[in-house]
Symmetry: C2
Subunit: 280 residues, 2 copies
């Protein structure tokens, strides 16, 4: 493993030494954040919920006006990765490719696709039982309907929000929009539980529509749990019985403490975790 935690790196299908440079200075991801990415969990050598990640990746590229990516080559990369590191985190980054200086993309420039793997993070062993503490971020997410929902490479809002706390006992931070509605965690989507009913923020103006969020929405519907996708004022989050934050790496954590108030673990949390650990 390299100094920055990289286990495995391929760029456009070519194996790279994680200790040496592999990105061109003219890559538009480096220069402008012009591209998208996916962060995924490998279990037993396979990406969990791969088909959903493929759909989301292609949809996000389309939202930015970029071409579709060659999934076959990425699958070959992931197969090689899974053979060597069956349980890890993989990140696929697709940039708009190389260009001369300037915001204008070069017509027909090939996308640049990289696959980087890192170890599973070392969360506290009892996080499923103990829950997490959630920070309320001061940074407010900007409204940008042109990019809302997309997991693009312009992530300074999340970087600045994550820099608000340094206490390792706090596992995640919640970000609001400019009107005080809850949108996302810095690295996760949010669900709340009110009298057994689930709700998750609408993400039409900011936030990322994560794959794990979509899986939980589908699971709730299949299980017959009421679920609402709507603007969620902070007060509703504060008053909720339970809060969950989810992403493709952590699964779904329940929030034990938020702004000094204690919340409960949902009765079905263990069942949900088992469902998310399955492929689908």
């Amino acid at each position: 493993m390299s100094g920055d935690g990289t286990l495995f790196l391929r760029v456009d299908g070519v194996e790279m030494d994680p200790e040496t440079a592999s990105v061109m200075a003219s890559d538009r991801a480096f220069g402008y954040g012009d591209g998208v990415f996916r962060t995924m969990r490998l279990a037993a050598g396979r990406v969990v919920a791969w088909n959903r990640h493929v759909q989301k990746l292609q949809a996000d590229l389309s939202r930015l006006g970029l071409a579709r990516v060659d999934i076959g080559r990425i699958e070959a990369d992931l197969a090689a990765l899974g053979g060597r590191y069956p349980d890890c985190v993989a990140r696929i980054t697709v940039s708009a490719g190389l260009s001369a200086r300037g915001y204008r993309r070069a017509a027909g420039a090939p996308l640049v696709t990289s696959v980087r793997a890192t170890p599973l993070p070392a969360w506290p062993a009892d996080v499923a039982q103990a829950g997490i503490e959630l920070h309320l971020c001061r940074l407010r997410l900007a409204d940008q309907p042109a990019m809302a929902g997309v997991k693009h490479l312009n992530r300074l809002e999340q970087v600045l929000a994550r820099a608000e706390w340094d206490d390792d006992r706090i596992a995640e931070g919640l970000t609001l929009d400019g009107t005080g509605h809850a949108i996302c965690g810095t690295m996760s989507n949010l669900f709340i539980v009110e009298d057994g009913r689930l709700a998750t923020p609408e993400l039409a103006r900011c936030g990322v529509e994560g794959v794990q969020r979509a899986r939980i929405i589908d699971w709730a519907r299949q299980r017959g749990l009421a679920l609402e996708v709507a603007p969620l004022p902070l007060a509703r989050v504060q008053a909720a019985d339970s809060l969950l934050v989810c992403n493709s790496v952590i699964g779904a954590w329940w929030v034990h403490r938020f702004q000094g108030r204690v919340h409960a673990r949902p009765a079905w949390h263990g069942e949900l975790l088992a469902e998310l650990a399955r492929d689908g």
Copy 2:
């Protein structure tokens, strides 16, 4: 010159081959757009308005919670560049450095500084006399006071706005905020002239406060021209006698045509160009 137009490239003071990879996949500029940049003009081997660029670079780093950069090393890079390519465009990119996966920055991680030079763009020879055509962009800039004014590496709004037109006769596009106020060009700042008085948009909620904008503000004040920094509704831009777009590479272009209406070249435009071409 390399295929992507790079004349010269140094990363952390080390000369790199522009044809080969020079950025680590774990660089936070590549992963998240976590960093800032400056684009500058070299004339007769020196960066025009270098002291202002230094101040702006350090101020922008501070706004993102990053450390100050080593200006001495950058100056050595630029001196080497100026000796080889006395008239060119230089871009300094300062990233938050390398880190493990995730939005959290590594404590004390060194910044990564690169200097890349490209040729002066080939603008039409008569642009000073003929003016330019300006497009009105559909994309609206998001309000984000935490980063407003900063030339950071999250530039997807500018990329998407620039992708709105492909007609080489249109040299720039104007972007508005969500309330319909004019903010910036995709790569420039805006000034308007009304009955001899100058005005430029206030940039407290979005947009970049460019060095050339600051120089024009100072020039106007020294010359005794009335100048207002204020929110500028689109209607004021449409009705103005003259429009100017400026940045450190182009100097200041006057707009001949915007939304079908013809605007005039300011009487002092030649004088302003001469001033901006001087160092200071």
